[in-house]
């Protein structure tokens, strides 16, 4: 084995080692940003949304009696009204929550409000202190309508027109 070959082998091996490290990091990177939208037919929907935006069709007017916003009627954030346009809305103490509640009894990702067809639902996301609709703690997505009081920590939320 000549000295040169050994040096080459040495550097080749270090290169392999670092190529492995860097590819692992690049997989982490793509894992971080590469999550896709799960909604079935998500892509066609998005495309539809794009064409809709292009043709500038007015979004259909909300039917009377359909909720369009969530209002916080009790608690530290009392008085805030959040539009339901961007549903599903995440409720919690964390930064990524659409409805942020400054309340120690609220988990980081506490609950979620979303719709299915015409019906709105609230779903608990495994919070510590639970989500209450009326007076009962919910364990599965629960249908809510205008004025139903949703209690999360010290706050009470309800759907508004």
């Amino acid at each position: 084995m000549s000295e040169l070959t050994l040096v080459l082998i040495r550097f080749a091996y270090l290169a392999i080692l670092w190529i492995f490290v860097l590819s692992a990091i690049s997989v982490i990177r793509s894992d971080m940003f590469g999550a896709r939208v799960a909604r079935e037919g998500g892509r066609p929907e998005r495309r539809a949304a794009k064409t809709a935006a292009k043709t500038r069709t007015k979004p259909a007017k909300p039917r009377r009696g359909t909720p369009t916003a969530v209002a916080i009627v009790e608690g530290g954030n009392k008085g805030e009204v959040i539009s339901l346009d961007k549903a599903p809305l995440l409720i919690g103490r964390g930064n990524d929550a659409a409805i942020r509640l400054d309340d120690d009894y609220v988990s980081t990702r506490h609950a979620r409000i979303g719709s299915s067809g015409d019906q709105w639902y609230v779903e608990d996301l495994g919070s510590t202190n639970g989500t209450y609709v009326g007076s009962s703690r919910i364990s599965q997505p629960t249908a809510i309508s205008l004025g139903t009081q949703i209690r999360i920590g010290k706050s009470i939320l309800e759907l508004r027109k």
């Binding site: 040495r10 091996y13 080692l17 492995f20 779903e123």
Partner: protein, 475 residues
């Protein structure tokens, strides 16, 4: 996103109203990434086998004769693990297994290299490969047998109790044996095993199961003493007893490294569960106090600290000085595999394998290894972050911290950053018990991450079906 929903609101009777399926409310899911895992696995095999071949070329001038058989064996193990993940945990984290396989492959090559240099004093790679096979078999068994990590929560106290039993085993006359001052081995016939390695996994499960039930009581009930909310005795008692007992056993057995590890796991899990940084302050203070007291009164510890402060004037500093010279001789890019003399360092194949890597692959190689450990720990903590159930969160964080502490204590000790204590470098160093236990830890982590990354099942049925069927609660 808003326009199709707006069309729904025009009325359920219209045709547009049927358009959007209920779908999951969650819009963010992780991809499976099994292809990426396979790609990384191939690279990791290249790392392991490349090192093996380079060792042969460096020492004998030829590629080792058995590289085909050795390579096939290694590849079969890795592929078996990969296929198991594809079948049983398809959403599991794609980076953990390749990293573990690369570290294990590099460790095997390093053990083989030191065996070539001093065949009488060090074990061969074949024994370690056998242990790796057992480890991978256990990995597969855990993934196949344990479909849901939350079932482990039922074994909280069983796990804690068996951990203590396992720790006590080496003290039993007849099977227990003292090796290099620490009585942590059991021998059954020709087999020897370190039960402490298994105990650490069981303790993490026990701590996790206990803390998940009592975290609220621990965090909220109790008195405030000197900036720290002290929990009530009845909440902290059982876990404190479990932990003090295991620490006492380890101290009695002279196993410094493991006691440090258990102390750290306990503190970090308590901190993660209660979100009270005060625990780290109190625990850190207690640790410093305990460390200083044992420095003054325990001869074993005094020796270690003296060697750490001034290894060059102590007879017992030989090992660490050899390791330091080795790493110094290795320099930035190392001597090349098979070109250094890592066999001069006692235990260059187990406790001091980091020094051997530093000598032959240099700072560049050792840094790659450290970064790999960093990624491994990061993935573990990430699993803990995204996990939806609290038990999984705690166990994943605990297991990640097991790796982090072990790597810090060993590499810190070898590089003379902290006093040297005996712990194995995960996946790299020679030692069956540690390797097998670590493969089981990886299987647990992957099981939890499979749960955490799997998109939630569709919760809502079709609205019309929901109208048609009514759930009648009988109880």
């Amino acid at each position: 996103m808003s326009s199709p929903r707006a069309s729904v609101r025009t009325g359920p009777s219209s045709a547009a109203g049927r358009d959007p399926r209920p779908g999951p409310l969650m819009e963010f899911v992780h991809r499976r990434r099994r292809g990426a895992e396979l790609f990384l696995l191939v690279l990791s095999l290249l790392v392991g086998l490349g090192a093996y071949a380079a060792v042969g070329l460096g020492v004998d001038g030829t590629v080792p004769a058995d590289i085909i058989g050795y390579g096939t064996w290694l590849a079969v193990l890795v592929v078996a693990a990969h296929v198991t993940i594809r079948l049983r945990a398809e959403y599991a984290d794609p980076i953990i297994l390749p990293i573990v396989s690369a570290l294990n492959g590099l460790g095997l090559a390093m053990i083989y290299r030191i065996h070539l240099a001093s065949p009488d004093k060090s074990p061969g790679a074949r024994t370690q490969l056998m242990w790796m096979t057992i480890g991978v078999a256990l990995f597969i068994a855990v993934l196949v047998g344990l479909r849901d990590h939350r079932r482990l929560q039922a074994f909280t106290y069983t796990a804690g109790f068996s951990a203590i039993l396992l720790l006590l085993l080496p003290l039993v006359p007849g099977i227990g044996r003292e090796v290099y001052g620490a009585r942590i081995w059991i021998h059954l016939g020709s087999m020897s095993f370190q039960p402490g390695e298994v105990a650490k996994v069981l303790l993490v499960i026990a701590f996790g199961g206990y803390l998940v039930l009592h975290r609220d009581a621990l965090a909220l009930a109790g008195r405030r003493v000197l900036f720290v909310d002290l929990p009530r005795g009845r909440d902290l008692g059982p876990i404190l007893a479990m932990w003090l007992l295991s620490l006492a056993i380890l101290v009695f057995q002279n196993d410094l490294g493991s006691s440090l590890l258990f102390f750290g796991i306990f503190l970090v899990m308590l901190y993660v569960a209660t979100e009270r940084p005060g625990w780290l302050v109190v625990g850190g203070g207690l640790f410093l106090l305990g460390a200083y007291a044992s420095y003054l009164f325990v001869g074993h510890v005094t020796d270690r600290v003296d060697v750490w402060l001034d290894p060059f004037h102590q007879a017992r500093g030989y090992q660490i000085v050899q390791g330091l010279y080795g790493m110094g001789w290795g320099g930035l890019t190392g001597r090349g595999l098979g070109q250094g003399s890592p066999q001069l360092t006692p235990f260059g194949f187990s406790d001091f394998i980091a020094a051997s890597i530093g000598e032959e692959l240099g700072l560049t190689g050792l840094m790659a290894v450290v970064v790999l450990y960093g990624i491994l720990v990061e993935r573990g903590l990430r699993i803990s972050l995204i996990c939806r159930d609290n038990f999984g969160k705690l166990v994943a964080a605990g297991l990640a911290v097991v790796f982090a502490l072990q790597v810090f204590v060993v590499i810190g000790g070898v590089t003379k950053l902290i006093p040297l204590t005996g712990l194995t470098t995960p996946f790299l160093s020679y030692g069956g018990s540690s390797l097998v236990a670590n493969w089981a830890i990886v299987a647990l982590l992957l099981r939890i991450s499979d749960h955490a990354r799997r998109p939630p099942p569709e919760l809502l049925a079709d609205p019309e079906e929901m109208d048609a069927t009514q759930v009648v609660r009988l109880r």
